[in-house]
Symmetry: C2
Subunit: 208 residues, 2 copies
DNA sequence: TTATATCTGTAGCGACCGATACAGAGTCAA
DNA sequence: TTGACTCTGTATCGGTCGCTACAGATATAA
């Protein structure tokens, strides 16, 4: 946020960087994931990334830009394939069953401190970090939109009752998905998340 | 948390307090609700409560104790009656339909900055505020337990399919409820929350 | 009246926050 | 070899955090 919209400079001249930028980003992601955006301090980030503050600011701009880069990395690494599978599986019941099954895995994955970064990392932020939360909200809105679109297609293909409101069902599915992050953060096991995920089949009005 | 477990002293001697303790607590609740636990600074709390820091610390102990007192006030004021109604209504379908309907109202109530304090106020906290989050988790666990007990009773009274896992269904209902707080925080309208609430009837396996 | 106790406002404590000034080190083009 | 350039570590900036020392004000109890 703030001033510089450009992301990574690094021309060919000058002293070369002595750390792995991608590895440092992944380390930063771990801290943001565990702590959330604001509780993750620059000093803790630097310790995890094994660099000093000037290196962090030279490579990533500022804390907000580092965070958003970590969020993008998180989305592409953990969720993109799952979202796309949901869009590709022909039967909507099968697609959503698979999606929530995979979500239960992701939200309790080994390297995850549990829960989704996009949902949890900026739920409480002070006024000056509202821009960061707004950026995350765009991701969340997109997720709800994907679910709504998938439901709408399921209706038009006759797999879900024709009188179903796609936006309402998409919102409900997204609400359950976001709730699963809170459950994971509160220590729900993978089996418990699978139980929640399995309830999705009951939420879909089958075509009579 | 920390040292003093006792809450309000105030003997009969000494200079009397010149502000309304209950009114100040309600003002503090508003700030915690809007901002969350850690982003709510002492200076912002003091401004809203119209007192100075020494008065705050004399009357409430410290920030964590003030917060927990605000949480207790919030629970009793906004949720206790709704929880008890759910326990009292004989038919479980009617009880849960009514509960989620009321929850949709509470989570979008006028004086609410949207969402549940217990769910949202401490999702991102630094390490030293983990005790506060643990206290909130106890509230959240209690909510899930109430839902589970109500489901179990519905099963034993033959209103829900006998092969239903009460803990699993209780957890699922609680997950949807907690997700509704995130939806409200992201700007969902009362009508949208009502739509989500209405989906609960499909989650309950009717007794065949 | 005096002693004791508690509240009130001012003013500021040490600790930490995000972010940087600076000088030295390393790599490039000329 | 020189100069331009960028990264590196140290040391620190101004600002805010939660919290409190202090002195004055106001009440009760003796």
């Amino acid at each position: 946020m703030t001033d510089t919209p450009i992301i990574p400079p690094h021309k060919s001249k000058g002293r070369p960087r002595t750390f792995d930028r991608d590895a440092a980003l992944i380390s930063a992601l771990g801290v943001f994931w565990r702590r959330g955006y604001e509780p993750a301090s620059i000093s803790e980030l630097c310790a995890a990334m094994e660099i000093n503050p000037p290196s962090l600011y030279a490579a990533f701009g500022n804390k907000a830009q580092l965070f958003m880069e970590a969020v993008n990395h998180y989305e592409t690494t953990y969720w993109d394939a799952t979202w796309e599978r949901m869009a590709e599986v022909p039967d909507v019941h099968e697609a959503l069953r698979g999606f929530f099954h995979e979500a239960a895995q992701i939200l309790t994955s080994q390297d995850a401190p549990c829960g989704c970064l996009v949902i949890l990392a900026a739920t409480n932020v002070s006024a000056e970090a509202e821009e960061v939360n707004a950026s995350l909200k765009a991701f969340r809105d997109e997720g709800r939109e994907w679910l709504t679109r998938r439901v709408r297609r399921g209706i038009s293909e006759g797999q879900i009752a024709g009188d179903t409101d796609p936006a309402g069902l998409g919102l409900t599915l997204n609400t359950l998905l976001e709730g699963m992050s809170l459950a994971a953060r509160d220590g729900a096991t993978r089996e418990e998340l699978e139980t929640i995920a399995a309830s999705v089949q009951r939420l879909l009005p089958a075509n009579a």
